[in-house]
């Protein structure tokens, strides 16, 4: 048993409450507490990803042992897939907190900010670690409610409108998820994911579980902003304060949306080809439609938000190809390649999209605008912002030697090897349109020589903001090393084995 597992949730919860209680008396405490909490979590997640090595650690909440081989308590499960996601959540969270040091001082009530931030991290860690359907719902609501509050942090007209939209759609998603959970419990009489898998594979009430699958897919699809459910994302992600946009776009939609879809559909349900095709089609749609909605945008953060939809489309499409191959039971090595592409692109997207949102925040911090038409010539006075955003733009458009190139390459190769030539062609075209869109961003924001009066005294942003941007830019470069076979074997292969072979996930939990 790994003693670190409950700490992943207890430490940020304690941080959130201590910030609110002690923050009143010690005005500068919130920053130090926030960074200590996130530093601890980031180190713990790195330790768990290094020590897990293909095994599974289980923590039984309250020490409830299984009765007659049937798990009855709440289980926290740490395997390679969740360790990977924990790393993404906590490292991006750490950099966002460092960035907030100076950025958030333009708002009042910083205590609330750090407290809600810690709560959001606790919720996401909980979703990723949970081995129980209802527990996923509870932690998902913790992270969702704190993110509703954080989107509205500026309490101006736009933020309030965005948060209302986000809350109504997020509330609907939660209800649909709860309904799906109820349906599963009705027939399977269990909420534990591993135990439910045993029941689902033994029984054959296919139409009934198809309904539950569709409900859960639409609920978590709404949380992940896959295309027919995407309406809230551009508003919410562009209205939030920039470090929060980076967290929402870079981490939240993956941890509470994509990760849960992966976990449930690979490890719990009997994969059927219809659902796999549906997921692939939804992913392809988000990929193509997202990028065409993005290209006409002049608000930087809205542009980036639409690109999040499109890049998540790559992840979902690639995972869908993997699902189709797994459900057919053919070409296991191509399925593994497609899943490696999906996971790799998920991590890369966390690095470059949070960096781009932090860049947008830096530009807004100095110029006070998000409209691309009102910028121009910022490269000369903001060298760090300009060079890091160049790195991120090249990474997201898939140019070597940045990480985005390698993950997109793997996805396209997997699509070709699985004989989905149309999907491969769409992926290439979307990548080119992405490049065009980001060249527009670079040109209008940084290189268009037009300088207006009053802009001469613009300076680079303060040191903490530069530090987190440069670190993320280094991640954009270094993550391309993960494509090398040696690193791939350590990082991705065990996680893929858990996804493709559900027995790997269930056996340690049920104690076979």
């Amino acid at each position: 048993m790994n003693p670190l597992i409950p700490l992943f949730i207890a430490i940020p919860l304690a941080g959130a409450f201590l910030t609110m209680i002690l923050g009143k008396f010690l005005p500068r405490l919130n920053k130090y507490l926030g960074i200590t909490v996130l530093l601890l979590l980031a180190m713990m997640s790195l330790i768990s990803v290094a020590t897990i090595s293909g095994g599974t650690d289980i923590y039984k909440v309250g020490g409830w042992e299984p009765v007659g081989g049937i798990p009855i308590g709440i289980y926290m499960v740490l395997d390679n897939l969740s360790a990977l996601l924990l790393c993404v959540i906590n490292i991006v969270g750490l950099l966002a907190v460092i960035y907030s040091f100076t950025y958030i001082s333009q708002y009042t009530s910083e205590n609330y900010f750090y407290s809600l931030f810690c709560l959001m991290i606790a919720g996401m860690n909980g979703v990723v670690l949970s081995g129980d359907l209802f527990n996923i719902f509870v932690f998902l609501e913790i992270s969702a409610i704190s993110s509703y509050a954080l989107v509205a942090f500026g309490v101006e007209r736009e933020q309030l409108e965005a948060t209302f939209k986000y809350q109504v759609l997020g509330g609907l998603a939660s209800l649909v998820i709860l309904l799906g959970t109820g349906f599963i419990y009705w027939k399977a009489k269990t909420l534990n994911i591993a135990d439910a898998r045993e029941v689902l594979w033994a029984g054959s009430e296919k139409p009934f579980y198809l309904l539950a699958q569709l409900l859960l897919l639409s609920g978590f699809g709404l949380k992940a902003a896959i295309i027919p459910f995407h309406a809230w994302l551009p508003d919410a992600h562009s209205s939030a304060p920039s470090p929060i946009s980076a967290m929402l776009s870079g981490v939240l939609i993956k941890a509470v949306g994509i990760y849960v879809i992966f976990r449930l559909f690979f490890n719990m349900f009997v994969l059927s080809e219809e659902i796999a095709v549906l997921i692939t089609v939804l992913g392809t749609l988000s990929m193509a439609v997202g990028v065409f909605l993005a290209i006409g945008q002049w608000d930087i953060k809205r542009l980036l938000a639409y690109h999040s939809i499109s890049q998540m489309g790559y992840v979902v499409m690639s995972a869908g190809i993997g699902m189709i191959l797994v459900s057919r039971g053919t070409k296991p090595e191509v399925a593994a390649l497609a899943l490696a592409g999906a996971l790799f692109h998920l991590i890369n997207h966390a690095a470059f999209k949070s960096l781009l949102f932090l860049n947008a925040g830096a530009i807004e911090y100095r110029t006070g605008t998000r409209n691309l038409r009102e910028m121009g010539g910022l490269a000369a006075c903001m060298p760090a912002t300009s060079s890091t955003s160049f790195a991120a733009s090249m990474a997201i458009s898939g140019l070597p030697p940045f990480n985005g190139f390698f993950s997109k390459l793997i996805i396209i190769i997997a699509a070709v090897m699985a004989r989905f030539y149309l999907l491969a062609a769409i992926a290439v075209i979307v990548s080119i349109v992405t490049l065009a869109s980001f060249l527009k961003f670079q040109r209008y924001a940084f290189y268009n020589g037009k300088r207006e009066a009053g802009k001469e005294n613009l300076r680079e942003v303060p040191f903490p903001m530069v530090l987190s941007m440069v670190t993320l830019a280094l991640f954009c470069l270094l993550l391309s090393l993960a494509a090398l076979p040696h690193f791939r074997d350590i990082i991705f292969t065990p996680a893929i084995r858990i996804l493709t072979d559900a027995q790997q996930y269930t056996a340690p939990i049920l104690g076979f």
Partner: protein
């Protein structure tokens, strides 16, 4: 079976309200109706025909108990629903102060 259908009708009533109402408060009320229809559904799936309160009495060996787990789920979900509704209401008060209206058609700064 009829109980489940009525429960579903209540769910759809709430959904209809969320889609068609123009007033922000009425949207939140419709969301709450959907939520409560779900709580009812969860309590129903735990019901066993002729079952009693799930407090085990060792003397009575023939007793049938209803499933307590969905009831615990409903309690948790009620608390979560309270938090969501409170948060929505707080946002509505702020929206009213900024826009001076509760009509969703007039609150449309964000487009595209």
């Amino acid at each position: 079976m009829i109980v489940y259908l009525l429960c579903f009708v209540l769910f759809l009533t709430g959904l209809y309200g969320v889609i068609t109402r123009r007033n922000l408060v009425k949207i939140v009320i419709s969301l709450s109706i959907m939520e409560f229809s779900l709580f009812l559904f969860l309590a129903l799936i735990g019901y066993v025909e002729g079952g009693t309160v799930p407090i085990v009495d060792p003397a009575d060996t023939g007793a049938v108990y209803v499933d307590p787990l969905p009831q615990a789920m409903v309690l948790t979900a009620i608390v979560i629903g309270l938090a969501t509704t409170a948060m929505l209401m707080a946002v509505i008060i702020r929206v009213y102060r900024k826009y001076k209206t509760m009509d969703i058609r007039e609150i449309k700064n964000l487009r595209g």
